[in-house]
């Protein structure tokens, strides 16, 4: 059963945030394999099995956790590409961001994001948020899921 768990893609350039996120997932007992990519371009490479990810096992991830501010392609652009490709559209995308900027929220929802999570400064809150997310998508081995509130 566990072996069949799908992967989680975490697109995040900041190593500290990666570690915190992975810690939070672990604390919540999310055992899916987490693929960490460091920028938007790498995220797309993984999703489309290109370049360094050309020989990864097939299949779409359970969820993509996407930071907005990344080098090369930013999160919004990655989101736009995923949601404009019929083959990728069903992959759930959760935006994890430091930003409370309203315009970011509006733009991501316009592009069809499945959830939007503001990373709280308080780590415990963050753990709670990740717990919700992980529990919803990663553990459930079925796609597409519904869109939960953050």
């Amino acid at each position: 059963m566990i072996a069949e768990l799908k992967r989680i893609v975490l697109a995040e350039d900041n190593a500290n945030d990666v570690e915190l996120t992975l810690t939070a997932l672990r604390e919540n007992h999310v055992v899916n394999e987490v693929i960490v990519v460091r920028d938007g371009a790498e995220a797309l490479d993984y999703l489309y099995r290109r370049n360094g990810y050309a020989d990864r096992p097939p299949g779409n991830p359970a969820v993509v956790l996407l930071d907005l501010k990344m080098p090369k392609l930013d999160g919004l652009e990655v989101l736009r590409r995923i949601k404009s490709d019929p083959a990728m559209r069903s992959v759930p995308v959760v935006v994890l961001t430091s930003s409370r900027e309203e315009r970011d929220l509006v733009r991501t929802y316009d592009l069809g994001v499945n959830a939007y999570v503001v990373k709280p400064v308080d780590f415990h809150e963050f753990v709670e948020a990740v717990k919700l997310l992980g529990g919803f998508w990663a553990v459930v081995n079925e796609t597409p899921p519904g869109v939960p509130g953050p």
Binding site: L20, K69, R100, V121, F123
Partner: protein, 735 residues
Amino acid sequence: MTRIKLPAWHSLRLRLPLIMSAFIAAVLTMFLWVSYRQVENALLEAGGARAQGAADQLATLLMQSAQQRMTDLQRAARSSAVLAYLQDPGDATAADARQRLASLTTPNQPAVELWDDHGTRLLTVSGPAGRAAPAQIAITRPPSRTGLSGFQVSGDAVFWDAVAEVDASPATEPPPAPAGKRLGYVVSRRLLSASTSDVLGRLIGTGVVVQIGNRTGDVWTDLSKVVAAPPVDVKQNGVAEYRTADGRRRLGASALIRGTPWAVWVEFPRGVVVAPAMTFLTRMLIVGVCFVVTAALLARTISARITTPLHDLTHAAEAIAAGTPVARVDTNRRDEIGRLGAAFDTMAEQVHGVQRELEQRVEKRVAELHETRQELDGFFGLSLDMLCIAGTDGYFKRLNPAWSETLGWTDDELRRTPYLDFVHPDDREATTRIAAQLANGSTVVQFENRWACRDGSYRWLQWKAAPVPGRDFIYGSARDITEQKTADSRIRGLNDQLEQRVSELHALSQELEAFSYSVSHDLRAPLRHVTGFAAILDKSAGPALDEKNRRHLRTISDAATRMGRLIDDLLVFSRMGRTELMLGRVDLAALVADVRRELAAETNGRPIAWTIHPLPVVRADVATLRLVLVNLMSNALKYSATRPKAEIEIGCNGTPEETVVFVRDNGVGFDMQYAHKLFGVFQRLHSSDEFEGTGIGLANVRRIVHRHGGRVWAEGAVGRGATFSFSLPGTGETS
């Protein structure tokens, strides 16, 4: 009005008689000429007939005379004595024959001769006593034929021959037997004598010319001398007229003399014949002249009668034209002229009336004009604007004092110099072009140019000018707009600066936005890491740490959390200055009630006395106004928390200009000398140990209220509560 001088020959008084006389004279002349011609023709006809009669008579007389002679000769030729002599010439028979022939002789005429058939003259018997016939007319040749010969001429003498044949047949008297044996001829030569002419003259009348001659025209005589044949046809009877070499016209008639080769011509001078016609003409002329003179006199009288009133009318009309008050024409006549005069008098009176009225109106108008002109002159002089009348010749004609006052030149200087000389050299071309436009009749033109002042400076003048229709003038009105120009350029400079500032500000605002965006992402991330790793550390190493170190770890986490909140507040404050306000109707009472419900959770059931006065509906952005109320009301709650019973009062004071809302509490209050610090960012009057908070709330309140166009202020005293008020422009409606 000029008086028309009529030339004498144009006057009806002279022309009418002249025309009538000329007409009558012409008719009379024509009539006289026709009559004269008729009389003359009649007289000529009568004269011709008379001449023809005379010619015929004369011809008959001559014929009888000639035939008588021929008969006598033939008798003698047939007589026995002559015959005997020729058959038996001898002395005895000769005597008898001579005696017989002697009976044929006439005094003053040539001899009668007897010739034999062989052309030998046998006997010559002279006439009785008298002059002998001239020698040159003696018969020299034997006769060749019998009968009467044509006239012959020798010198002055004109003569003719009569020849009778003697034949052998027995004498039987008369008639002679035809063609017996011819023995000889009896020959008689006759002279035409002058006496014949006298006889004829007495017979026909004086002035008459009678000519006799051969029909062949070779020999003609007037019985006194040989003449040329008449220049008419004399081979037949008839009347003819001809013109002599010296131009005199003569009338005559010819007649043939039967039994002879002769003709007669009788002629008169034509003048004699037509003399009565001339007499007739003369008399008729006298009558005609009398008639014409009479008619002329009559016509003159009539024309005078007609034209005199006309003259009077003319004089009267001229008098009216010259302005003489009333000129009357009393013709005292009942005909058309009388009516004309009467009509003229009526007209003259009306004209006079109209003239008087016109004069009065003109006087009134002149007075009005004078007044208007004085008014205009007054305005002209008073005007602050520079008014002028300029000629198209390039000079000013008239200027008002504003010119001298503005430019410093005297009126004289301005008018004596071509105005273009005062215009700034850079503006002259444009000004010349506009002046040309105006001269070509363009309507109103507006333009600006610079004018030289006496002190060497230039003033900007704004012009409005128009040509004066039909005259070589331009009306111009100018205004000194130098100040305005300067101000304009200053304003333009300021505007440019302002625009630059705005764009700078815009760039700054964009930078700020990028900055705050960056802050919200990048500044928060390290804090998150601090708290995150502190939490992990606490979890993993917490049980091993002593109380003091655990407290340090907690302080790290708390400080980071607090900094995160500060950043969030700062971002909200920054956003508050940029987000767009959506103004609409906001029911303050409902909003206050809503906020009160929201805050109730934080009061933890402590006793609070709310006093909410009636509140109006205001025009505001509901989201930000809500933030204002949340801040003020939560502050009131916060600073009255130390009181046994919190008292919070919310109300409204309206003025026509603004709506003032206040929130009053009975809390700790504040020292008024620090009141100005209340609304600053991160400015606090209490330590965060006493009352928690970041110090951004009131700064947000002030920013929101200012953006609504209102004010915000606070009153209070330490320990005696505080009252925070804000105003919104416009009168609110009571809900």
